[in-house]
Symmetry: C3
Subunit: 135 residues, 3 copies
């Protein structure tokens, strides 16, 4: 059994744990506001918590798939560093958004930058490998 | 060509088929209620069908990514058993929720427990591998 | 380092880029309509842009996971051809839906057909491998 990407695996699972806490945040906002599922609106804090979770879910396929292709093409450590940047960005995004929707920008830009480097880094290397080695 | 995870692959694809049926359930609820996309509310059965699909989608990244990391670290059979537990939990969740939102708890807890074992099982083994083999 | 699926990797990353543009489309619809997050309704163009993004997200786990299992079982080139069909279908779906919700059917059916071939193709081969090689 080979485990050439243990660090990327750990960073991935920690990212999923962070995402799980965004789900718990929705649950807490539901309890406080008394608005039960399937209702999705009616309280500003609940709506923010739902948007934090939904926006993170929207970016998860980009992040997770690009992260693993990047890890294959650029190695375990570079991928893990960018995963940690994504985690920090998402933490700031959630804290900012819950405090004030106008304060979500910085964390959002950090996670988006990490995703862009992962996606374009993997894409560039994949084209390079294809061009130099014939696939 | 190596196929060391054929069972996990089959369980994954069956999970995706189940998730597809939750999309068809939304389509049937739309037909019955006469509420066309992009409208997302206005009928309790449609709203429940949408929540079954949306909640399953919310958990799919956690489930699918943890399942495969678990399969790599713990083997094909253990991963497949937990995938079957997840499938049963999601089936009960959907049937319960469509009958009555208050009846969604048991199925939800079963799939959440399967996800927790997959996630923490993979995370624990990844840390163990890193500590004992240096990555 | 082996890269037996460079083409599938490129097609995957291009699919994610297309999905990213559906997010930008939501941003443009928000600017034009002046409806800021977390509000999710109130303008027909914004609601269509949100549905294009949400429906694509709903299908991404089916598409991406089936695509890679198909690539492993059927090879890089067949998977890439189907990924390009999916991309064309999603482009038509988005353009059609933004023009008129009734015009989203053809693109939707094309991407759904690509996903069905990927999913059932991978599932069939996984069962075949299991039956003939014992896993």
């Amino acid at each position: 059994m080979l485990h050439p990407h243990s660090l990327t695996a750990i960073a991935t699972l920690l990212s999923l744990l962070l995402y799980l806490t965004f789900g718990f945040q929705v649950g807490r906002a539901r309890s406080k506001s008394g608005i039960h599922a399937p209702a999705m609106s009616g309280d500003p804090i609940l709506e923010r918590a739902l948007r934090v979770q939904a926006n993170t879910l929207e970016w998860l396929p980009i992040y997770l798939v690009s992260l693993w292709l990047f890890a294959i093409y650029w190695g375990d450590i570079a991928a893990t560093v960018l995963a940690l940047v994504w985690i920090i960005g998402r933490l700031l995004y959630s804290r900012g958004y819950m405090a004030d929707p106008g304060k979500r920008e910085m964390g959002f830009m950090i996670q988006a930058a990490a995703c862009a480097i992962l996606l374009f880094g993997a894409l560039g290397k994949a084209f390079y490998v294809l061009a130099t080695a014939g696939g």
